[in-house]
Symmetry: C2
Subunit: 66 residues, 2 copies
DNA sequence: AAAATAAGTATAATATACTTGACATTATAT
DNA sequence: ATATAATGTCAAGTATATTATACTTATTTT
């Protein structure tokens, strides 16, 4: 599984730290980090929550496997 | 969690049974049924696999919570 | 009417998403 | 130089996605 650079760039574009995004979404910092690192696949519910905060669509952030 | 009628209609439009889709995607029939019934949230990897088979985007099938 | 296929539901077991806490590293500041 | 914040990683625990098995209720086919 490749890294999720689209998620990372969307996050830093909003000047959010991993912890900022984690708090906004209701998960831990490690979970956000692991998703960005590609260490495991989140559930669709978590993906939706992340996209909502980042102002992006599912296809934007989780569309294609790298 | 509401039912996923978009997934169900995309499936029947291809004349796929729940088992047909399950086999194509590599999960059990019960998993497909549970997702359509809204009984639990799948992982993004499974969502991607389902969308690929159904010829739809993530936003099409898993875009909005009902 | 019976036989077969599809769908819905339930329960117990297993795999894995996610948490918590800790530690190391790399920045960015003061 | 030394704090401080942000990141990356690891191990152990908890929550839940998914499997396997089984039973029930349609719906279709013979």
């Amino acid at each position: 599984m490749g890294k999720n650079l689209k998620m990372k760039s969307a996050r830093v574009a909003l000047d959010f730290s991993q912890k900022d995004l984690a708090d906004a979404v209701g998960v831990t910092r490690q979970t956000i980090n692991a998703i960005e690192q590609g260490d495991y696949n989140p559930t669709i519910r978590l993906c939706r929550a992340i996209c909502k905060i980042l102002g992006k669509s599912l296809d934007d952030i989780f569309g294609e496997e790298e």
